[in-house]
Symmetry: C2
Subunit: 246 residues, 2 copies
């Protein structure tokens, strides 16, 4: 028997309560990307409820997102709805390629040598004075084909992010078999998958997998996220609003 | 008209008085390499005289070399002669490959990456923390084909040694045309060539030429030294002793 939706939600959130305002940014970024797209308060309440978030926590997070200029509210008769501000659209659009580029093959690896007194080139990962790793040749650069030694790869990402890829891979694996899902459930799970993957995708440098430290599960997470985004296709907002009710 | 020998000696010594004890090591190392080879005091006096060295300076240097265990003296009737000690033989033999390997093509260049807290691998040239240049792969190494940037090459050798290659190249160029030479003159010039070249060969790291800084004349010195060692063939000691007189 396939697991029920609350069990899948728990697998994706690792039993922790996600930071709600950040999760709401993912809701808007994933489900309401269009410039005119808006999400009703009712639909937001149903989605956050499905993701195991308490109504008070959702309200507090919405308030904070409005105060910080991420979203704005609109009132249509007795219904309130929300949409990303222009700034909110810019921010989510900037992050999109890294989050949704899950099928993009990892880039090349270059060892970049620069004057030790200068900072690492933009976008490169500083390894030590004068030494950085990059996805493209910049300045004096040598192509990398073989994995560098452990101590060097350990500087590419911190141990916390390595651990996050491990727990995320386990969470994604729990969704290997999906039960029949309503559009609302599909949307809730999809947002949680995007959210879990974005925590890795936005923090991991753009480097080929073999440059990451021992234990790095980034490739497994990337593959599972790509698979889940296909198997949990984005429901359109009209369908979701109809399902959420008046 | 070809230049006279004193002018050639001056070209090779740059008008400076060479460090005499070090020059005498070259005399023994070049002319008296065999385990039983010995050089009479008379021949030493004639050779150092031909190299523009004052008799007192030669005597002081001989005394110092004996005291330091480089050479030992032997007495045969009224004649005294000198030869390298076992330690002296070992030292000159160890330096020989670098001095006389003038036709050896320069090695490969590797960028060596090591833990920044550890020293550079043996034989490699430290460039910065965790970064060294070597003639062979050691640990995590990347082959170098293109010249690294100026700041990095400037760390391969100091400016003083770069300047020495320039003046040495000019000195060697002065021997492009040689006059007819006696065996003693040949030996004196040859020893000065070896001595000038060894000051570079023993201090320059074993790296391909393109890793050396702008202005480095090592290749020109190496080529000229190889040419001069062929054109100033080592006279045998018996010939030199006969020429030096009783």
């Amino acid at each position: 028997m396939p697991p029920d939706v609350p069990a899948l939600v728990a697998a994706l959130t690792q039993g922790e309560t996600p930071r709600v305002w950040s999760l709401l940014v993912t809701v808007f970024g994933d489900l309401a990307q269009g410039p005119q797209a808006r999400v009703s308060g009712v639909l937001l309440a149903r989605l956050t409820e499905a993701m195991g978030i308490k109504p008070e926590a959702a309200r507090v997070a919405l308030h904070r997102l409005r105060k910080d200029g991420w979203i704005e509210s609109l009132r249509e008769g007795r219904r309130s709805s929300y949409r990303l501000t222009q700034a909110g659209h810019r921010e989510t659009a900037a992050a999109s390629p890294r989050i949704y580029g899950v099928d993009k093959p990892p880039g090349e690896g270059w060892l970049l040598i620069h004057p030790p007194a200068e900072p690492a080139p933009p976008g490169a990962v500083a390894i030590g004075p004068g030494l950085a790793l990059g996805a493209a040749a910049q300045g004096f650069a040598l192509p990398l084909q073989a994995p560098p030694p452990d101590w060097l790869r350990a500087r590419v990402v911190d141990a916390e992010l390595v651990a996050l890829t491990r727990t995320t891979a386990v969470g994604f694996a729990a969704l290997a078999v999906l039960p029949a899902l309503t559009p609302l459930e599909t949307a809730a799970l999809r947002v949680l998958v995007v959210h879990a993957w974005r925590r890795i995708a936005l923090r991991a440098p753009d480097l080929p997998d073999f440059l990451f430290p021992e234990g790095w599960q980034g490739p497994a997470c990337r593959a599972a996220a790509a698979d889940l985004l296909r198997r949990l296709p984005r429901p359109d907002l009209a369908t979701l609003e109809a399902a959420a009710g008046p």
